[in-house]
Structure formats: C-alpha cells, structure tokens
Amino acid sequence: MSITATAITKTFGRTKALDAVDLHVPDGKLVALLGPSGSGKTTLLRILAGLDFADRGSGRVEFHGEDVTDTPAGRRGVGFVFQHYALFRHMTVAENIAFGLTVLPRKDRPSKAEIAVRVDELLRLIQLPDVGGRYPSQLSGGQRQRVALARALAVQPKVLLLDEPFGALDAQVRKELRGWLRRFHDEIGLTTVFVTHDQEEALELADEVVVMNHAKVKQVGTPQEVYDQPASPFVIEFLGNVNRFTPARNPLPGTGDNALYVRPHDVDIRREPAGEHSIHARVAHIFSAGSSGRVTLVRADNHDTIDAEVSRARLRELDLKVGDEAWIVFRHIRLFPAGSYTERDVVPDDAHAATTDSGHGI
C-alpha cells in the first residue's frame, strides 16, 4: 500500500516542525526518513500514523489513494514501533502481542484460541518462540524491539512505521537487527517507513532515502543517488565525512565563486607533484588501524587540514610518515555556489538547480 502526504505543515507553538512537506512512499518499499534531530522526521512519521495531525487546513495524507487525513490512529491500519518500544509493563509478552486483537469490537474479535495461535506465529516470526510468558522487563533491548514489532504486526497493518528503531540499542545488536529487519522486509514486503538520524543505517537498509532538514525534505532518492548526487551542501555534509573549502580557501583554480566539497575517499596522495592541480601538503597524522587508512594532511600554503582515506595497500605503498611532504590530487569534487554554503541553514529549495555537478577527475 502506497503512502502519499501532500503539503504537510505542522507548527508547535512558534516553531515550524514541518513546512509544506510532500512525501510519497511507493507500495512495498522500505523508506528511511533521515535527518538530524529537530529536522521534523519524527513529526512526519507521527502524522502518517495519526498520532499527530497537520495544522488545520494544511496537508493531506492518503493511503493507497484513500484520504486518511482525519482518520484516528487506531483506524488507519498502521503498525507503529516506538523508539523505546512502549511495551506494556504489566502484561506478558504474549499479552502485549495479543493486545491489538483483544481490543477489537466483539464481532470482529478472534476467539481466544485463534489469538493464541496468532501470537505463537508472531513469536516464531521474530525468532523468540519461548518468551511469550515473560514480562518485558525480563527481555534484552533487542528482544523488546522485536516484541514491539510483533505487537505492531499482530493487527495485520497495511503500513509499518518505525521511529528510530535501533536508536536505543548498542552497536553490536544494532547491526544484527538491521540485517534482520532488511531480510524480514524482503520476506513480507510490507510498505515500511523508518526514521533515523544515522546516515549509515539509512543508506545500508533503505530502498529509498528521504533526507530532511529544518522542517523540509531536502532530497529523495535511492541510497546511491543521495550519496553520489547530493542536491545540496547540507546533504553532502550530512551523508558522511567531507572536506569543505570556502571560495577564498579553494585550493583549485578555475572553480569560481563556489564552495568545493570532496569526500576523503576521493582524495589521493602522491609522493611527487602531479601537475598544476596537485596540492602541496605535509602529513600530520596517520591512522592505519581500520579497514582503510586515514591520513590527515596540512596544506603547505595556508595550513588547512585535508582528510584522505586510502586503501591499506595504497598506504603501505606510499610508506608515509608524519612530517613527510606529499601532493594531493582530488579524484572527484562537487561545487556549490558560495551563497548556498554560507547560508546552508536556510538553503532555498531551488538551491540544487544552481548546483554545478562537476564530477570530473582532475
């Protein structure tokens, strides 16, 4: 079931949480709402769920073409998983999962036996077949998360909404659950929207990423699209590390009044000068204890630092030491008009129209 939200505006007191936001979630897709805290992503998710409502007179929410703008949460057919799970402490896991079925009107309510069967199925689905009799306090964080998911699925929702689903978990469990959720989605194919502030999580997990900032949608695209063709300085900075140069400190000639962005993995290091575009620098720090090597260099002319990320093989080949002279070559750069850089907090929505996509190697 597809979701379409049109012109959603939401104000809390004087702050605008959402400013005329449009969103389309295609049927069966796994979509991430990605943005820093305060960007409005959770508010948007809550409006889709019917837990919050857009400002009076603004906006429209449709599920598969049907207007649900004023439908209360309980009748939208959404499954909602809360960041801190919101499991009912005084109920067992099985009672939690069965809750949505037991509050159905008597004529629609399955029998006790049917409910028990359904709960067992769900417990198997989340790979926790034996915890039905336990209380939430007796489960680990990852287990609670999966129980919350099972509870949301028990009412057979048409749409699954997850608010920071891995936010409260430690790194190891996070990784595991991420993979599990992806496989799970592929199996049941339920239209799913999740909110996250973790770009790695969004890029790795989602079919489509919606990048948000300051109450607006900044860019929508596949993970590869938003990463490789960021529409604005905000998007390029938010999706991973990047070296940024203002026009005044731009190391490359001929880039005009533009700010220059280059990802560390697009920075190559040479021991010898390599043409007029190579930048003279000195090695300041080498970090080689990871899957790739990271080198911090300081420009010879103005002492700006530049981060580079090279393979470990390349790092060995270069045989760099702190203090060594080196020359830097950018493989791929991205230019944005200077104005959009200095005012990146209030980027006009047409900023990406003025973007120069100058993806050329130098």
Binding site: L51, D52, F53
Partner: protein, 291 residues
C-alpha cells in the same frame, strides 16, 4: 507514611497540550472535571468558607468583639510559643538526621528512616497518652517530678513535648530524599578545597537545601500550631493557662459560643491559607529553578 505527600520534588508542571490521540473524549473530560470539582467543592471549599461565614454570622461587630477575650489571647500566645519551640527543635533534628542519612553509609539506615516516620503512623491521642504515661502523676517520673514541684503534664512543657512528637518527621522527611538526590560531590569538592565541616554545611549544603528546608518548616509549623488531639490529652484544659488556640476553639464551641469559636477558628483557617499559599510559592520557585 506521609513520605510521598509533602515532597518538594513533586513536579508542578503545567499539563502540556497533548496529541489528539491521547486526549480523552469531550464527554469524558467534562464528566471527570465535573465530578472532581463537585467533590473538592463539597469536601474542601465548603468547610473552609463555612468557617468564615459562621464567624461573621452575627455581623462584623460581633466578630471583632469576640477577640476581646483575654483567654483567647493567652491561647494564641501559647500556640505561638509552642510552635516557636517545636519547629526549631525539629528543624535542627531534621538537618542532623538528613546529614547522617544522606552523606554517610551505615547499617540500619533504612530502619532509621522508618523510625523517623513513626510519629506519622501514631494516632494523635496516643501521642499525648504516652507522655502522660511517662510524666503523669502515675507515670515513671511522676513521683520524682511532684517531689521537686515540676509539672510537665497538664502544663506547658507537656504541650510542647506532644507537639514536638506529632511534628517530629516533617523537616527530616523533606530533607532526606532531597539531600540523597543531591549526592555528596559538592561537599567533597568543598572539603578538598580546604573548607571545614561548618563552612561546608553553611556555604555548600545549606544553599542547596534551603527550599526544601523552608517547605518542611512551613508544614511543620502548620501542624504545630493546629495540633488538637495530642495537645488535648496533655493539656488538662486549664483556661488562660494550658489552652492552645485549637483547644480554645473546642471550649468555646462546647459552651455554645459559636461566633467566638468560629472567630478563633477563622484565625487558624487563615493560618492554613497562608500555609497553602507559601507552600505553592515554594513549589513554584523550586520548579522554575529546577525546571
């Protein structure tokens, strides 16, 4: 047992406007508000208002005239004197107990906290009775006291002692959780910077607990001035000598001097109103500071 009640850490935040999904339907809101207001109006507001209405039943003149009663003035003075002894005594105790409990670890601590609560669980009448048993004519020290012509029961000392007993936990109950929550880091810092014990207490601890202290004192004072049952047992009801204001109210009432009784009661009701206003003001100031 009143531990959960008079706690300054109670938040008094305004209710936030809740998302629509969390709001009760209008009919339910109106019903519950109606029930709540009717209940509070009939059980709280009505008695409070009736005190003043009864006092003014025969007009302002009769009301004012009823204050022309030397026994009444004596009762008021005794009430103030009792509070002036009981409140500071329990204040010092409360601070000492809270310091010991919050800043140190020792075995039997939770038993001590329970014992401090004990007077709350004892009926006021029994609070008076036990002092009669100890100091009364038939009590432990009775013969010795009468030999030396010292009167405790049916005299002012007994009234003060019984009042101290019933107001015993107020300040301590307020300070113990407050100081436990604040921890000991600031005191440790003061000590490492060279402060001695009293400097640490007066310059670091006291500023941190002053609102809680004041709050406890307000409640302690209200109870000290208003105590009836315990004082009634130990006072002996000697007019112009061992009558506190609440006991004076009782005597006038039993003599069918209703205007006089309610006039004296109106003073105590005013005390209650001032107490509630101060208490709310402290809660408000505290909530604003600690958000």
């Amino acid at each position: 047992m009143a531990s959960a009640l008079s706690n300054l850490q109670r938040t008094v935040s305004a209710p936030v406007v809740r998302p629509r999904a969390l709001r009760d339907p209008l009919w339910l809101r109106l019903t519950l508000m109606g029930v709540a207001f009717l209940f509070l109006a009939s059980f709280l507001l009505l008695p409070l208002v009736s005190v003043f209405a009864e006092a003014l039943r025969r007009g302002v003149g009769a009301y004012l005239e009823s204050f022309n009663d030397p026994d009444g003035w004596h009762a008021l003075r005794l009430t103030l004197l009792t509070a002036a002894i009981a409140v500071p005594a329990n204040l010092v105790f409360g601070v000492a107990a809270a310091w010991a409990v919050a800043k140190f670890e020792f075995p039997g601590k939770s038993l001590l906290i329970t014992l401090i609560d004990l007077p709350f669980a004892v009926s006021p009448v029994i609070s008076g009775l036990i002092y009669v048993l100890v100091f009364g004519a038939h009590g432990w020290f009775g013969p010795w006291l009468s030999e030396h012509d010292i009167r405790i029961v049916f005299a002012v000392p007994g009234i003060v002692l019984a009042t101290i007993f019933v107001t015993f936990p107020f300040v301590a109950r307020e300070l113990i959780p407050l100081m436990q929550a604040q921890g000991k880091d600031e005191e440790y810092a003061a000590v490492t910077l060279g402060a001695n014990g009293w400097q640490t207490f007066f310059r670091v601890t006291l500023p941190n607990i002053k609102w809680g202290l004041f709050y406890g004192v307000i409640l302690c004072n209200a109870r000290a001035m208003g105590e009836f049952g315990a004082v009634s047992v130990v006072s002996g009801h000697i007019r112009g000598e061992t009558n506190t204001l609440p006991l004076h109210v009782e005597i006038l009432y039993n003599e069918y001097q209703f205007v006089g009784a309610f006039a004296a009661a109106s003073l105590l009701a005013l005390l209650a109103i001032v107490t509630l206003v101060l208490k709310s003001a402290v809660e408000w100031a505290h909530a604003r500071r600690h958000g």
